[in-house]
């Protein structure tokens, strides 16, 4: 242990006692746990909730129960309280630690450390006063987990709800609720369960599931570090046990690569692109796409300093690392660009929809000019629409047309320049924006969508769909009820009637496609029939292709991958490289299917596909007729509401040939290496890319409808 030893009497003698522990300490280390335990995770937590619901008392109690207080601190405070004739309060402890003399200082966040059995906890204090919400946000945004405190006598209050809502917007997903002052309601289980139901319901509605709801009395220590006979009916954890279950936030290595560019350095002959990998991994040899835009390059090196020796030069970097890379070609790249895999680029556009909180005194209104920051990019923008503007503290909020201070809402912002990022549901790290007003951060929130202006507002010329002045989305919305009322063949005929221009039907010779082809042929509709030959189809599929042409007496136009792209793909990942990772598989789908599809649909006004709603959870959201905003066309799935049995009955009744693999247990048939037969009871698309996550099994042909 260190002791204070001034060694300079001229200075020390003035106030020798000031060298003692008395001096306020914002970081405390508990002495009995000083043995080196290198792998203890550090979890940053924040305690939020309505002011006066007992936060300081809980913190004081936690410090005491974990042995984190300086020796003698508690006794000296108790003595001071006794001298002043005041009952001792645990919150005095915190006040004294926070240099209570200066109220101006105690409003902001500060940090305190203590330990649970298996965790180091860094407690980031966040003020409960509504007027300091910006400080609460600054504190809570740094936290891995949160405790939301509710007073058992007062119940859920406006600031409880507001803080809960902000935890959701800030992306804090690990939340425990403590219901404090149980002693003041006679430890009544009924009262506790009422509050538990209310707050759990509120948080669940935001997509936040509390890890635990814990009845406590911080003042007496019940439920904090030990169970109390008074609350014996509670079967859940104590506060310390709940804290011990929280985990530090992990870097999202399993998400798709996103690396926002901070700067491009040319200090020497190297041209180093610097930035932090926000998600996924980047490796030498990877093909990356620079967003916004359509620039591609291959990663040539990962640079480091001090310069490592040849054998230890890094070849890969992952999420969380600040890196510098070089590329195989000179492209114009600037701060704000996002490096992503060639096969799975970030979204980009000049219109962003977001759910935001607002902190400035002046309400956020339609027409407010802002600076929008996303990743390392920033651009000017104007709020073009506001929806669902509410005070999240109110129980039954009324939607307003502007977003007031400390309120939330959904906004649409038109941007001066395109930004690259992702919807928050796709990537939380590149799916959040910050709003700046007059050079000062004034709000922030989650990205719901990033679009190009063509998709969000009708444009002139070729981008226009159908009759003059109507967007695809509006047209489709008008037509949808008429399509819903018709049988599949009638839908095909109606589409042909309504559309001026080319209609393309893409078939992969699945059972649904065969049924649709029969309907088109039967009615003699002027619809192009094309297939995408990936080069890796089953022999049985090619057999059926030839058989189908004979049966219907027509040529089915084949679209092939670009030979140069295909050669590069196979060169890069090997002939069966798609098994290596989802990104590799997506890269293969991109070259063999998605890019050829774009050519197949070039100039088309409508596209017909064989999707059915019950094929997978993903496809249920797609819709009978939808607008494909990216390609600016209407997309019809005439069999959308048919079951597989109904389709099977139809082809059987009309003697339409089908793939012989269907009889061997193959249901959804794609490329041979990536399709297997199903076991009884498996979902329909379980045989496609069976080694991947169920929810993401699409090749990229069918984007989800909005």
């Amino acid at each position: 242990m260190l002791s204070s030893d001034c060694g300079r009497p001229d200075i020390c003698n003035a106030k020798p006692h000031r060298f003692e522990l008395e001096n306020a300490m914002n970081i405390l280390v508990s002495p009995q746990t000083a043995i080196a335990l290198p792998q203890r995770p550090l979890v940053r937590i924040v305690i939020v909730g309505h002011v006066d619901h007992g936060k300081s008392t809980l913190i004081g109690r936690l410090l005491h129960e974990t042995g984190s207080l300086p020796d003698g601190k508690l006794d000296s405070l108790k003595a001071v309280s006794a001298r002043r004739g005041m009952p001792f309060e645990w919150s005095f402890l915190l006040d004294s630690l926070q240099t209570e003399r200066d109220q101006g200082i105690t409003i902001d966040t500060s940090q305190i450390r203590f330990r649970t059995p298996s965790r180091d906890i860094l407690l980031i204090d966040a003020p409960g006063h509504a007027e300091f919400l910006r400080n609460m946000i600054t504190g809570a945004a740094q936290a891995d987990a949160a405790i939301l405190i509710v007073d058992a006598t007062e119940g859920v209050r406006d600031q409880t709800r507001r803080h809960g809502y902000l935890l959701h917007l800030l992306g804090v997903r690990q939340v425990a609720v403590v219901v404090n002052k149980m002693d003041r309601v006679d430890h009544d289980a009924g009262r506790f369960h009422d509050i538990e139901r209310e707050i759990s319901g509120y948080l669940n509605g935001l997509g936040v599931t509390p890890a635990a709801v814990i009845p406590i009395s911080a003042r007496h220590g019940d439920g904090v570090a030990r169970r109390s006979p008074d609350i014996a009916w509670h079967e859940g954890p104590t506060v310390l046990e709940a804290l011990d279950q929280f985990s530090p936030a992990r870097h999202p290595l399993d998400l798709t690569l996103r690396m926002p560019v901070q700067a491009v350095y040319k200090f020497d002959e190297r041209r180093i692109i610097a930035g932090r990998v926000e998600s996924g991994r980047i490796a030498v040899g990877d093909e990356v796409r620079i967003m916004p835009g359509a620039k591609f390059a291959v990663v040539k090196s990962i640079e480091a300093w001090p310069v490592p020796n040849e054998a230890r030069t890094p070849s890969e970097a992952g999420a969380g690392q600040s890196v510098g890379i070089t590329l195989d070609r000179e492209l114009f790249i600037e701060r704000g660009n996002v490096l992503s895999p060639a096969s799975a680029p970030a979204s980009a556009g000049r219109s962003i929809r977001a759910r935001v909180f607002w902190l400035d005194q002046a309400p956020l209104a339609v027409g407010t000019p802002l600076v929008v920051r996303l990743g390392t990019a920033e651009t000017r923008g104007i709020v073009s629409a506001i929806d669902k503007a509410v005070d999240p503290g109110h129980l039954a909020p009324q939607a307003a047309t502007t977003i007031g201070q400390n309120h939330v809402g959904e906004i649409e912002v038109s941007l001066a320049q395109a930004l690259a990022g992702d919807p928050q549901a796709v990537n939380p790290f590149t799916g959040r924006i910050v709003l700046e007003l007059d050079g000062r951060i004034a709000g922030g929130g989650l990205v719901l969508a990033i679009r190009s202006p063509e998709a969000s507002q009708p444009q002139h010329g070729a981008a226009r769909f159908g009759q003059a002045g109507e967007s695809v989305a509006a047209r489709v919305a008008n037509l949808a009820p008429r399509f819903a009322a018709l049988p599949p063949a009638g839908r095909l005929a109606l589409l042909r009637d309504e559309i001026d221009g080319r209609i393309v039907f893409t078939t992969s010779f699945g059972i649904e496609d065969q049924a649709i082809l029969h309907m088109i042929n039967d009615r003699g509709l002027d619809i192009d029939v094309v297939t995408l030959d990936t080069g890796r189809l089953f022999p049985e599929t090619y057999e059926l292709w030839a058989q189908t042409e004979r049966r219907f007496g027509r040529r089915i136009r084949a679209i092939y991958p670009r030979h140069d792209e295909l050669e590069r793909l196979v060169e890069r990942q090997g002939i069966n490289g798609f098994y290596a990772s989802r990104d590799a598989r997506m890269a293969c789908c991109l070259v063999r299917k998605v890019e050829p599809l774009d050519r197949a649909l070039n100039g088309a006004r409508a596209w017909i596909v064989g999707l059915r709603a019950d094929q997978s959870a993903n496809r249920r959201d797609m819709g009978l007729i939808t607008a494909d905003a990216k390609r600016n066309l209407a997309k019809l799935s005439p069999l959308f509401d048919w079951t597989r049995d109904k389709v099977a009955d139809f082809v059987s009744a009309h003697g339409v040939p089908i793939n012989s693999l269907h009889a061997k247990g193959f249901v959804s048939i794609g490329c041979a290496p990536c399709t297997r037969a199903l076991q009884p009871g498996e979902p329909e698309r379980a045989g496609r890319w069976w080694w991947e996550d169920e929810t993401k099994k699409e090749c990229g042909l069918h984007d989800r409808a909005r």
Partner: protein
């Protein structure tokens, strides 16, 4: 990534943000362990070079070992070193207690240097765990025209988005190692083999835990003669790091007054 990797990545990110977003910046080099780590991090961030000046605001009262260190490593690390001298004591607020008044010369020196060079950002090696008022700091911390820190009106800062637009006449303090602890600094110094001033190591049962002006900085009793022993010591201690810095302790609010007026 272990804790040190995480800390390094975050600090490198902050340094690159400062370099990208501000017009003219300098890194404040106090010659102590923290600012040495910061220079090291800057060399990592910018692949071996520090692409902005490194400024020592010199009170003229540092330990001889500190001046020797400055001359040696400014050259070895190829730093663009600026040395600015502080004005005499008589120019400083006489109501401050003696040691604080002495330390406040640095604040005045800083103001003069800012005016002289027109920096809009100064990179400083303060840490949240050093001292309670520093715990309230932002990573990008705006200062008023007089260098004043308004703790009551700090803008929000989250998701690694920083307020980098100081009002005209004001500047930003950038704190790349705000989130490090004293133990982190020593562990990183050990891992990266960063040179230190030998005053930090115990001699005759005493060592300096924090280095400032020779006349107002005291050693603490310690037997830690290697960095390993320092790490062990600072992980176990309950004594504040700056206990040997006289100006922190002369009166309850001396250090706050220093900071509000623009001290580091």
């Amino acid at each position: 990534m272990d804790r040190l990797d995480d800390l390094e990545a975050q600090s490198v990110f902050i340094l690159r943000e400062a370099f990208a977003r501000l017009r003219k910046i300098a890194l404040l080099w106090s010659l102590g362990k923290d600012s040495n780590v910061m220079i090291w991090l800057a060399r990592k961030a910018f692949f071996g070079r520090v692409p902005f000046p490194v400024m020592h605001v010199d009170t003229g009262k540092k330990f001889p070992e500190m001046y020797a260190f400055r001359e040696q490593y400014a050259e070895q690390w190829n730093l663009d070193l600026i040395v600015e001298h502080c004005p005499p004591l008589e120019t400083v607020d006489p109501t401050l207690p003696p040691a604080a008044r002495s330390a406040a010369r640095k604040t005045e020196g800083l103001k003069l240097a800012l005016a002289k060079h027109g920096f809009d950002g100064l990179i400083a090696g303060i840490r949240r765990d050093e001292e309670p008022t520093r715990a309230k700091e932002r990573v990008f911390s705006p200062r008023g025209a007089e260098g004043i820190w308004d703790v009551r009106d700090q803008p929000p800062e989250f998701w690694n988005h920083f307020n980098a637009s100081p009002p005209p006449g004001a500047h930003l303090r950038v704190h790349p190692i705000l989130h490090w602890t004293e133990a982190d600094i020593w562990k990183y110094t050990r891992r990266e083999k960063i040179p230190i001033i030998p005053l930090y190591l115990s001699q005759n049962g005493k060592r300096y835990r924090s280095l400032g002006d020779a006349d107002i900085t005291s050693p603490v009793a310690s037997s830690a003669a290697t960095i390993d022993e320092i790490v062990e010591e600072v992980e176990a201690t309950k004594v504040p790091e700056r206990s040997g810095r006289a100006m922190d302790h002369e009166s309850e609010d001396a250090f706050e007054r220093l900071r509000t007026a623009g001290y580091l």
